[in-house]
Structure formats: structure tokens, C-alpha cells
């Protein structure tokens, strides 16, 4: 368990990072930081610039400008990169080598001893139900098993910062839950986790803070709760006595009726009145049986924020 004071230690700081490919600006002056014990979501549709940003953080790509600071130091050096675990979006292993050989080699490149890595690898294999597969060749394993091995390769050297690029891609729901559990456990142990994804519902479940990126630029950044709380729209679902007229809501300033049935109406509210006033007005006109008030899901906040800025989001890009 991590002590309270340690939680604020900055594991990663990105400042004004910019990278272009020819005329296309892939990452455009983004800045954010990730603290110890954070699960930080880097969100955006496909092609938003997430992988480019991550590759710069990992030292695989050079930035045109800006700075990456690891563990409160400067740039990725040997000691720094050895403390990072990385699961890239484009995943792979040596298919003609055994599981354990793959893990020991990759751990060795992170500077840990063979004996230590061997112990850790076996513990992880055991935990993810793959202990019997240690001496099998990777190409004899299923895709799901290979994904677990790749995940183990990213954590076997006990990193302080774990970078997961689309970790849930291609996983079935059971394994998604398994990975979520493991990620939460690592967070408990104080590992800072930078998680890139385009499945916003998954991120919403896991992340404390998020950075939303679109076409290389920042869309939203901050604590997830703060972002949702600060978003000007709310979704209101009201169930009332059958036969009553909820038509007044269509004329209500700031309200847009999304769905209307005999005893139920759902509205999107972005007016200036306080929620309490709105609730009072509704209860004066209808006999309430049930009422729920919530902020829109993250992907909706993302899409609307992008559109409000006059930009477009490709429908297939986010989920």
C-alpha cells in the first residue's frame, strides 16, 4: 500500500509536446502529468495522436519540441526507461521462442537479473493462469494467452510507471475484467498507470484523471469527476403518473426532450437554472414516481466538446 504523501510524486510530466509528420501535426503542444498511484487515461479516437505521444514518452520517437520528464528528472535515460513498463498497441512476441525465454529476455533488457525475473515471471504466469504454458512456444498459444504474456512482459520488472496503449483491444469481456482487476491492484501498489484507449466506457470505469486528445490537440484534461461535474449538460430521466402531460418540458429553457413516452420523459438540460429549481418546477407539474439526474457519458462529453469547437469526430473513432 502506498502512503498518502507518496501519492503526489510526479512520475511523468509532459510539457508542450509537438510532433509532425510532414505537413500533418500529430501531436500539437500537449501537456499533462501523471502521479504515483494514478490511473491516467489518454483518450481520443483512432488517429488522434495518442500512440505518437506515447512513443515520444517512451523515447522511441523524438519530439519536434517540448519535454518529457520522467520520475521528476529529465527525459528517458537508461535508469528511467528501466522503471517503465510498456504494452504497445502494436503487440508482439518472439513466436518461435518459449514463453519464459521471451519474458526473461525482455526483463533482461530492463536491467533485472535472470533469477529475479524468472521468479517474478512464474508468479505472474501463475496469477494469470498460464503457469503450465511457461515452456511452450508462443506460436502454440491462443491469441488471448499471447496477450496475457505481453501484459506480463510489461510488468515483470516491477515498473514504477506503466504505459498501456489500448490494453483492452481484442480482449473478451472475461479477460477485460481480469486486466481491469490487475490494473487496479498495480495502482494499489503505487504504480502510475498511463492508459490509452478509445473505449471511453472502460476508461470511465478505471481512470482518476484523463486527457482527451483530438487531432493532436487537447480537448479536455483533469480529474474525471471534475470534468463531468463541470460539464454544462445533464441528463434527466423522469417517470411520472400515467396520463399526465409532460409537454411543458419541451418549452422549458435549456431543455431538449430526448425521449418521451406515456409515463416517462428523458431530457438533456443545459440551462442556467440550478438543478434544484428545475426539480421543483417538474414536481409542481407532474406526480413523480422516479427521477434520475446524471452527467452524460464520457464519449458524449468528448464528442460534444469537439463539435462545440467546430471540429468533427469520425463516428468509428470512439466508442
Amino acid at each position: 500500500m502506498v502512503k498518502r504523501g507518496e501519492l503526489m510524486a510526479e512520475m511523468l510530466a509532459v510539457r508542450n509536446l509537438t510532433r509532425s509528420y510532414g505537413d500533418k501535426v500529430a501531436v500539437d503542444g500537449i501537456s499533462f502529468s501523471v502521479n504515483r498511484g494514478d490511473i491516467f487515461g489518454l483518450l481520443g479516437p483512432n488517429g488522434a495522436g495518442k500512440t505518437t505521444a506515447i512513443r515520444i514518452i517512451m523515447g522511441i520517437l523524438a519530439s519536434d519540441s517540448g519535454q518529457v520528464s520522467l520520475f521528476s528528472g529529465d527525459g528517458p535515460d537508461d535508469a528511467g526507461t528501466n522503471r517503465i513498463g510498456y504494452l504497445p498497441e502494436e503487440r508482439g512476441l518472439y513466436e518461435d521462442a518459449t514463453v519464459i525465454d521471451n519474458l526473461l529476455y525482455l526483463a533482461g533488457l530492463k536491467g533485472v537479473t535472470r533469477a529475479w525475473a524468472s521468479r517474478e515471471a512464474m508468479e505472474w504466469l501463475d496469477r494469470l493462469g498460464l503457469a503450465d504454458e511457461a515452456t511452450r512456444k508462443v506460436d502454440q498459444l491462443s491469441k488471448g494467452m499471447q496477450q496475457k504474456i505481453q501484459f506480463i512482459a510489461s510488468v515483470v520488472h516491477r515498473p514504477d510507471l506503466l504505459v498501456l496503449d489500448e490494453p483492452f483491444g481484442g480482449l473478451d469481456p472475461v479477460n477485460q475484467d481480469l486486466f481491469k482487476g490487475v490494473i487496479r491492484d498495480l495502482q494499489e501498489q503505487g504504480v502510475a498507470i498511463l492508459l490509452s484507449a478509445h473505449q471511453m466506457n472502460v476508461v470511465e470505469e478505471l481512470c482518476d484523471s484523463i486527457f482527451m486528445i483530438h487531432r493532436g490537440k487537447r480537448v479536455l484534461y483533469g480529474k474525471l469527476d471534475d470534468i463531468k461535474r463541470g460539464y454544462h449538460e445533464s441528463i434527466l430521466r423522469v417517470r411520472f403518473a400515467p396520463g399526465e402531460d409532460a409537454g411543458f418540458l419541451e418549452r422549458y429553457t435549456g431543455a431538449v426532450v430526448m425521449e418521451s413516452r406515456e409515463d416517462q420523459v428523458t431530457i438533456r438540460y443545459s440551462g442556467s437554472r440550478e438543478v434544484e429549481e428545475l426539480l421543483r418546477d417538474i414536481s409542481e407539474n407532474l406526480t413523480l414516481e422516479e427521477i434520475s439526474f446524471q452527467k452524460p457519458p464520457l464519449h458524449e462529453i468528448f464528442v460534444r466538446t469537439v463539435r462545440e469547437r467546430g471540429d468533427q469526430v469520425e463516428p468509428a473513432g470512439i466508442r
Binding site: 522511441i60 502494436e90 508482439g92 518472439y94 518461435d96 529476455y105 533488457l109 530492463k110
Partner: protein, 403 residues
């Protein structure tokens, strides 16, 4: 560009070596060449043995009368051919029938005219079985001896006058033996084989890492230069292992037929050959690795690779003119052009004594080009390895190198 750490280079080299040395392809290829060597040597040895053990029985129709004795003396002295001669007293027609029947392998007809002109008729039933070259030396010596006898010389005088003459070239420098000719040739061949084999595995290894995407994980732990150099060292060691097996097997086979001390080389020569070999390998390996990084799949690899293989072996294609004129200006120029340096210089070394200054300038050119090639390869490697789904165009490669 990124840093180069010895520890990481060795980790990559060790992994690549151990991973490849256990593959069936490597084991089969490494064993099959010595096996071919052994089989070829065995077959030629056996056929030579069989040829030696074959006996030839010839009848001699001596119309002079005393030539047969002279011939017998020479036949007894020689050891090359298992030859038996028998004096035949009957008519030639009968002898022809006996040869046709297989009683003799053939017959010689000797008379005054034949001894005078030196044209001795040799009859065989099938002209394809005749090996006159085997007999010519023997008959030549016998006829010369007989003629001298007729002049009146004694046997001792004849023996003294007919001692065979042989011409044997000797180097002015007693240390310069056949090793100085065979050494560079062997090194040139080994360089080509090693570069070809190791380079091929290296390139496919790079392609494979691109295809299965593991390269991104690797590059998040070590620099592209460390990965590149580690691979070059690993596959270089693999090539050397293979060469050691081949040379060992070759030496064992060669020992059967020749005195290996004849091709022994001095330490100075070994150091120079090793320098050309190692630097030449590094040059070609970096070329192969860079190529692998620019390609999308193995099919593309084999086509483009064919072209790259041709470049360093160009000197082998023109080895004839290089041997004939090792000091020619164009050969000297070729000796300083990076991909051709190792093979050209080694071929020249086999045909002439290179001046020290030229060894120095070619080595300097080679070292400089290795540094340049590895640097360029690392740049291409760094940028090309993450381009998973496409080939890199020449224009892009130019941009990678200039940026």
C-alpha cells in the same frame, strides 16, 4: 542519435545467437556443407584408389629383339601404373584376336623405324580404353635409353644423362609460402559465404521483428543502435560458428590429401585477414539490417536482397582481371570503394604483395565506411522499424539520412 551501451548490445547478441543456433535451418545448413565436402572428397579419393588399383596387361611385339628388356627395366622402376608387359612371339594377327578376346588390354609394336621416329604403334580393342599419356612417359624414357645404348653409352652414363628435370618455383622470401595465396582466397570466400548466410538471417530476423511487432517493445528498452549492433554481433557470431565448423571439417578432409603446414599463415597475415573479414562483415551486415528495416515482408526481402548480395560479390565476378593485373589503376580504385574493399583487397593479396601503404589506406577506407554504414543503417533502422505496414521508398530513405 541514441546511445550505445555495451551491456545491452551483448544481451541482444546473446539472445539472437542462442535463438538462431538452435534452429533446424542453422543446424542442417551447418552440417550439410561439411557432409557434402566429405562425400565429394570420399568419392574422388575412392575413384582415385580404384584407378590406381586397376592393372594393365600389355603384350609387346618386339621386332628388334632387345628393346623388350629395356622396356621391362623401366616398367619395373616406375610406380605410377600397375603395368605388366609380356613379350609376344606369334604373328600380329593372332595377337589382335587375343586382344579382342580380352586376353590382353592392348599391344605395342616396336621395330627399328618406331625407335628411330619415336612413333610407337599402340593397339587396343576399344580406343576409348586407351590411355596413351600413361604409357608415353615410360616409352619415351625407354626409347631414349635404348637409343643411347645403341650409341655405346654405359648404363650408369645413361642413367646420369636421363635424370628427369622438374621446374619448381621458389619465393625469394622463404616465409611466403602457398599460404599467402590460399589464405586471402579462403578468407575472401569465407567472407562472402558468411556475409551471405548471416546477412540473410539478420535481414529476415529484422523483418520478422517488424512483422510480429516486438520491435516497439525492444525500442522502449534499448536504443535502435544497441539493437542493430547487438544483432550484427549475434549473427556475426553465428556466421563465425558456422565457418568454424566448415573450416574444421575442411581441414580434416584436406589433411587426408595434403600437408596443411604448406598453407600455414603467419600471425601478421592472420591479423590482416581477420581485420578485412570482420570489417567487411560489419559493412555488409549493416547494409542487410538497414534493408530489412525498410521492407514490409519476406517476399520483398528476397527480391531486394538479391540486388544487395550482388554488390559486394562484384569483385568475385571480375576476379580473373584482378588476378591478371592486381596493380591496375581501376583495381586500386575498386579497392577503396566501400562495398568492394574486402573482396577486392583479398583477391589482390592472393596474386601480389600489396604495399603497406595500400593495406593502410584500404583499411582506413574500410573502417571509415563501416562507421558511416552503421550510422546510416541505424538511422534507417530507427525510423524504418516502426513503419509496419509498408515499404520505405528510396526518397524516404534519402530523407531519413539527411534529416
Amino acid at each position: 542519435m541514441s546511445q550505445l551501451g555495451f551491456g545491452n548490445v551483448m544481451k541482444v547478441a546473446r539472445w539472437e545467437f542462442l535463438k538462431s543456433v538452435r534452429t533446424p535451418t542453422f543446424i542442417i545448413l551447418t552440417l550439410i556443407i561439411p557432409l557434402i565436402m566429405l562425400v565429394t572428397a570420399g568419392v574422388s579419393y575412392l575413384s582415385a584408389q580404384t584407378a590406381d588399383s586397376e592393372s594393365v596387361e600389355l603384350a609387346v611385339l618386339d621386332h628388334i629383339g632387345d628393346f623388350y628388356d629395356e622396356l621391362t627395366e623401366h616398367v619395373d622402376r616406375q610406380q605410377e601404373v600397375n603395368l605388366t608387359i609380356i613379350r609376344y612371339e606369334g604373328p600380329q594377327e593372332h595377337l589382335e584376336s587375343e586382344v579382342t578376346a580380352g586376353d590382353y588390354d592392348g599391344f605395342l609394336v616396336v621395330d627399328e623405324e618406331a625407335v628411330r621416329t619415336g612413333d610407337i604403334p599402340y593397339f587396343v580393342s576399344d580406343i576409348r580404353d586407351a590411355s596413351p599419356q600413361v604409357l608415353s612417359g615410360l616409352l619415351s624414357a625407354s626409347v631414349t635409353s635404348y637409343r643411347l645404348q645403341q650409341i655405346g653409352l654405359e648404363r650408369e652414363q645413361i642413367d646420369e644423362a636421363t635424370v628427369p628435370v622438374t621446374v619448381r618455383a621458389r619465393p625469394l622470401d622463404p616465409d611466403e609460402g602457398i599460404g599467402s595465396i590460399i589464405g586471402p582466397l579462403v578468407v575472401a570466400m569465407i567472407l562472402m559465404f558468411s556475409a551471405l548466410f548471416s546477412g540473410q538471417i539478420l535481414m529476415y530476423g529484422v523483418l520478422k521483428e517488424k512483422r510480429n511487432r516486438i520491435v516497439e517493445i525492444l525500442l522502449s528498452s534499448i536504443s535502435s543502435v544497441e539493437l542493430l549492433v547487438g544483432k550484427m554481433v549475434g549473427y556475426g557470431a553465428l556466421g563465425l560458428t558456422q565457418i568454424a565448423v566448415w573450416v574444421g571439417a575442411g581441414a580434416l578432409v584436406a589433411m587426408r590429401f595434403m600437408n596443411l603446414s604448406q598453407i600455414a599463415m603467419g600471425p601478421g597475415e592472420i591479423v590482416i585477414y581477420c581485420a578485412y573479414f570482420l570489417l567487411g562483415y560489419a559493412l555488409l551486415a549493416s547494409l542487410f539490417a538497414a534493408m530489412g528495416a525498410t521492407m514490409k515482408d519476406a517476399e520483398e526481402g528476397s527480391q531486394a536482397q538479391g540486388l544487395v548480395i550482388l554488390i559486394p560479390i562484384v569483385p568475385i565476378f571480375v576476379s580473373g582481371p584482378i588476378f591478371m593485373a592486381p596493380e591496375a589503376l581501376w583495381v586500386r580504385v575498386l579497392s577503396h570503394i566501400p562495398p568492394f574493399i574486402p573482396a577486392t583487397v583479398l583477391l589482390r593479396m592472393a596474386s601480389t604483395q600489396l604495399p603497406v601503404w595500400e593495406i593502410a589506406t584500404t583499411l582506413i577506407a574500410l573502417i571509415a565506411s563501416v562507421v558511416l554504414f552503421v550510422y546510416a543503417a541505424a538511422r534507417i533502422f530507427e525510423r524504418g522499424m516502426l513503419q509496419f505496414d509498408r515499404n520505405i521508398s528510396l526518397k524516404e530513405i534519402r530523407r531519413m539520412l539527411s534529416s
